[in-house]
């Protein structure tokens, strides 16, 4: 509403009649509006309705939440802002004299790149500006080729339509960022035709585009995929060779450092591939809170893929006790995939400190780096040279047979889960482990993987998941196994029954967890139902192996962790 006092009427203060008329008009106009009520003729300015709720539910990264975020900032937040302002200045100086090998850079990256500095800092870490200069016009030409020849357009379109739709930048269909995401992915599929497009890449490019512009994001994505430090090419190509390699390494670490949890997972058929694929493919985005994921990205961009290995173990380490209390696959997966994304339970600084210590610990144990990649993880042909797709690809026809690469990955994945099952079983039946891995068993394993079979008797995996029966009451093990491992297994159990009971007692005692340090409330859970009648409670001598680092040793050394 506007007030129609003109300069003329103000000067004519003595013109009382005009003033009275003005007041009468105004009264009439206002009354009229109320008489109209919700009538559509009653035109309302946007500010008169609370249609800007968006601003109250959007966080500083543009992500929208279910409910309003707090209006006032607490003292911690204010303190953090103050620190960030100081850090901004230091970063500006540091970026002007950039030297990534400087210890100062490393220290500051671990402290977290300030939000405002992430754009220039990530560009430096990924060498983006140099790449743009060195590849002038390349992006534009790839994009032009994509428009004519991209065979991935349908898949990319359907993924762009659902990537980060809870972020204001991607909220609106065909928004600037949605278009950029579409362009970057299509152009990249032409630039690197051996890779093309794989689901997961939209998430990576989506994060990059929240900090960069289109062409910058293209080259940043290329660095993540091609540079040996990150080498994500091997993760996304057909057959996922790097995934297999990293999963194996992850299992190796778990079996050495967190054996109890590892066995707990195996007992409940929680294979690492179920919870960690997104950790590896999109560097923890949508599996841990976004602010924490950015901190991990900072370090990942500096240090490369060993960070991913260490972070995976750190997550499990920090939540080990919670996870050990969950007694079915359902709740374990839910915890790792959903709960930790909503609320990690520890503040970001604390987690990053734990990550840094874990990296050091892994280095000491020579477990920080996964075994070297094979040649199949890297592109063979030079990048950026256009190759027209074959007719099958052009028309988007699916293959009906597996390729050799795919057969390999199927074999690898299944073999791995079986090996894990064997490992758990052999730990369970300490004295009979030879029996469990003996000839009869191996042959079954072999048959099942070569035939890809799931028919019941052949699959040793189903043999395991079925035979491996543990009741939850303290009657220890009952089992239905009808093959020759049964008797031996029972013998093992009988021999050690007493030890088991005494250990069970100790375990209860030693696990009166105290989370007094920086842990934030994660959830209320009932301790009453914790069940100790499980393989994890095996007597210490069952688990111990001099060559390995025991859980308890680790926890002693890492009480700070």
């Amino acid at each position: 509403m506007t007030n129609n006092i003109s300069s003329k009427t103000i000067t004519a203060l003595d013109d009382q009649e005009a003033l009275l008329q003005r007041a009468a008009d105004e009264r009439e106009a206002i009354f009229n509006r109320y008489s109209l009520g919700l009538d559509p003729k009653n035109v309302v300015d946007p500010w008169e309705n609370p249609t800007f709720e968006l601003y109250h539910i959007t966080d500083k990264y543009g992500f929208m939440h279910d409910s309003r975020l707090p209006d006032t900032r607490d003292s911690q937040e204010l303190q953090r802002t103050k620190i960030e302002l100081e850090r901004d200045k230091k970063w500006m100086k540091m970026l002007a004299n950039w030297n990534p090998n400087n210890e100062k850079v490393r220290r500051r990256v671990f402290k977290g790149i300030p939000d405002r500095m992430r754009w220039p800092a990530w560009k430096k870490l990924l060498n983006v500006d140099e790449l743009i200069v060195a590849n002038r016009d390349k992006y534009a030409s790839m994009l032009a080729l994509a428009r004519k020849y991209s065979t991935e357009v349908r898949q990319i379109d359907s993924d762009v339509n659902r990537q980060f739709r809870d972020n204001v930048a991607y909220r609106q269909r065909y928004s600037v960022k949605q278009c950029s995401l579409f362009n970057v992915l299509n152009a990249y599929s032409i630039y690197n035709p051996e890779l093309g497009y794989c689901q997961g890449m939209a998430c990576l490019a989506g994060v990059l585009l929240l900090f960069m512009q289109e062409e910058e994001a293209f080259w940043a994505l290329n660095q993540l995929i091609i540079d040996r430090k990150y080498a994500m090419h091997g993760l996304f190509i057909e057959g996922f060779p790097k995934l297999t390699r990293f999963l194996e390494h992850h299992d190796r670490i778990m079996s050495k450092m967190m054996r109890k949890l590892h066995q707990h997972f195996m007992k409940h058929n929680v294979d690492a591939i179920l919870y960690s694929i997104k950790w590896f493919f999109v560097i923890f985005v949508e599996r841990i809170p976004y602010s924490l994921a950015l901190r991990v990205w900072d370090i990942y961009l500096l240090e490369g893929d060993r960070v991913v290995t260490a972070m995976a173990v750190t997550i499990l380490y920090l939540h080990k006790h919670e996870l050990l209390r969950l007694n079915d696959m359902d709740s374990i997966i839910e915890y790792l995939q959903v709960k930790l994304h909503k609320n990690f339970g520890y503040n970001d600084d604390y987690v990053i400190e734990a990550l840094e210590r874990m990296m050091k610990k892994l280095k000491d144990l020579k477990l920080d780096v996964a075994p070297p990649a094979k040649a199949n993880e890297f592109p063979v042909r030079p990048l950026g040279q256009f190759i027209e797709a074959d007719i099958e690809k052009k028309i988007g026809r699916r293959r009906s047979e597996y390729t050799d690469n795919e057969k390999q990955v199927i074999t690898d994945v299944i073999l791995r889960s079986e090996q894990n099952a064997v490992e758990v079983q052999s730990t369970m039946s300490y004295e009979t482990s030879e029996c469990a891995t003996g000839d009869a068993y191996s042959m079954k394993t072999y048959r099942s993987i070569t035939s890809l079979a799931t028919s019941p008797a052949v699959s040793s995996y189903s043999l395991y998941s079925n035979g491996f029966v543990v009741t939850t009451n303290n009657k220890l093990y009952n089992n239905d196994i009808d093959n020759n491992t049964t008797s031996a297994y029972n013998n093992g159990h009988n021999n050690h029954g007493n030890n088991y009971n005494s250990y069970s007692h100790n375990y209860r005692h030693s696990n009166s967890y105290s989370y007094s340090h920086t842990m934030l409330p994660l959830q209320n859970h009932t301790d009453a139902e914790v069940d100790y009648g499980h393989v994890d409670d095996l007597p210490p001598e069952f688990n111990e192996n001099d060559a390995n680092v025991d859980d308890d040793e680790l926890s002693v050394q890492n009480t700070r962790l």
């Binding site: 898949q155 659902r162 409940h268 299944i414 079979a453 799931t454 189903s462 009952n478 239905d480 009808d482």
Partner: protein, 221 residues
């Protein structure tokens, strides 16, 4: 999770003695896998079934997702362990890991998309060849709320399903149409199958059951 009932094998004397209809609240558990082309609505079907929700912009599934839901049929509690897989062809090679040992599968296509129907047929073929012989397969023609712009005719899909022994329904994760029904139909069909055949897929696993006669071939009727 405590005990596991195996089909076939060491049937103890007690296995076949359960009197029909006299046991209360039997529990059993089935592994179910969702397969189908990308963006046909696999995750949305699961979300509707498990949480009763629908997200217009369901994020793309990377690898696979795992959820559970429980149904009651008469005196039996059926728990579905649901594996929701990624649809992109590249992830195809991970699928055997999920359909291995599955007692049921829902193969999903989008009624607006002929390619996705062809793809569904390929999945059915693969399941017949590679999965447990007695796996119960349902075909779901999703996005049925958009039937005014359909491309795949109902009759065509129905006929295909009949010829291949599949359950068939057109579903809509958006409106909820037939979503519970298709899971229910699977649940009803499952136990009969298990009972009929000892050589087939493992029977549903029985849950937290302290009775002695765990080794039944058929956990629920």
């Amino acid at each position: 999770m405590a005990t596991t009932a195996r089909s076939g094998g060491n049937a103890s004397g007690s296995s076949a003695q359960r009197p029909n209809g006299t046991q209360q609240n039997k529990n059993c558990q089935f592994k179910l896998v969702l397969l189908g082309e990308s963006a046909v609505g696999k995750s949305s079907l699961v979300l509707r079934f498990v949480k009763g929700q629908f997200h217009e912009y369901q994020e793309s599934t990377i690898g696979a997702a795992f959820l559970t839901q429980t149904l009651c049929i008469e005196d039996t509690v059926v728990k579905f362990e649901i594996w929701d897989t990624a649809g992109q062809e590249r992830y195809h090679s991970l699928a055997p890991m999920y359909y291995r040992g599955a007692q049921a599968a829902i193969v999903v296509y989008d009624i607006q998309n002929q390619d996705s129907f062809q793809r569904a047929k390929t999945w059915v073929k693969e399941l017949h060849k590679q999965a447990s012989p007695n796996i119960v397969i349902a075909l779901a023609g999703n996005k049925a709320d958009l039937s005014n712009i359909r491309v795949v005719e109902y009759e065509e899909a129905k006929q295909y399903a009949e010829e291949n022994g599949l359950l068939f329904m057109e579903t809509s994760a958006k409106t909820g149409m037939n979503v519970n029904d298709i899971f229910l139909a699977i649940a009803k069909k499952l136990p009969k199958n298990d009972g009929a055949n000892n050589q087939g897929a493992p029977a549903g696993r029985r849950l937290n059951d302290n009775e002695n006669n765990r080794q039944t071939n058929n956990c629920c009727k």
